[in-house]
Symmetry: C2
Subunit: 115 residues, 2 copies
């Protein structure tokens, strides 16, 4: 089954008390995860916007950066993140992602359950 991008569910809202909003498009629905996870989205952060810092409990998240520049908080350590980077936040870990560049920061986010 093919779904065109414009027909996918899309939101633009603050996330985890971050700055501004996250333009998030759902690539897999909750029912279609068959209980293995809860989020698979294509996300865009405009410059200055962020996914606020949060800790994962009972699940883990992968970010794959498609384009742009940002700052990633990896368990309290801030580091630059850029196109092609993969960030893994394991169960119990804390992360944050902010677009500190001048262009859109586009990435794939995947959250799977730990148990």
């Amino acid at each position: 089954m093919i779904t065109h991008f414009s027909d996918l569910p899309r939101t633009n809202a603050p996330l985890a008390n971050g700055k501004g909003t996250v333009d998030a498009t759902e690539l897999l629905s909750i029912p279609d995860f068959l209980g293995k996870g809860r989020l698979f989205k294509r996300c865009i952060l405009k410059p200055g916007c962020s996914v606020g810092g949060h800790t994962h409990k009972g699940d883990f998240e992968v970010y794959y950066i498609l384009r742009g520049e940002g700052t990633y908080d990896d368990n309290g350590t801030l580091m630059p993140i850029t196109t092609g980077d993969v960030a893994l936040c394991r169960d119990g870990e804390h992360h944050m992602l902010e677009n500190t560049g001048t262009e859109d920061l586009e990435f794939i986010a995947l959250i799977l359950f730990s148990n």
Copy 2:
């Protein structure tokens, strides 16, 4: 933990008896899936190359097309697929993806287990 793209495991080999090879970069390792799935990759098919037709049993796969043009076999029905499209191949279903365009066909592939 951030891993730069050039440090990710990368293969370039035929897949499912397809035409040519698939340039596949691993975004999440098998151990890091914690048993929820077995593949999360950034893939590139050069023009004329394909992921050969195959049936999923015990798992399901999502393709998210990042760029390019191709033909997708959705359970025996050939259809065009292009940038932004999401193709879901559920457990028990059959699919195939061929780059029938003139530019690279770049996509994200995710395979999760059904049970």
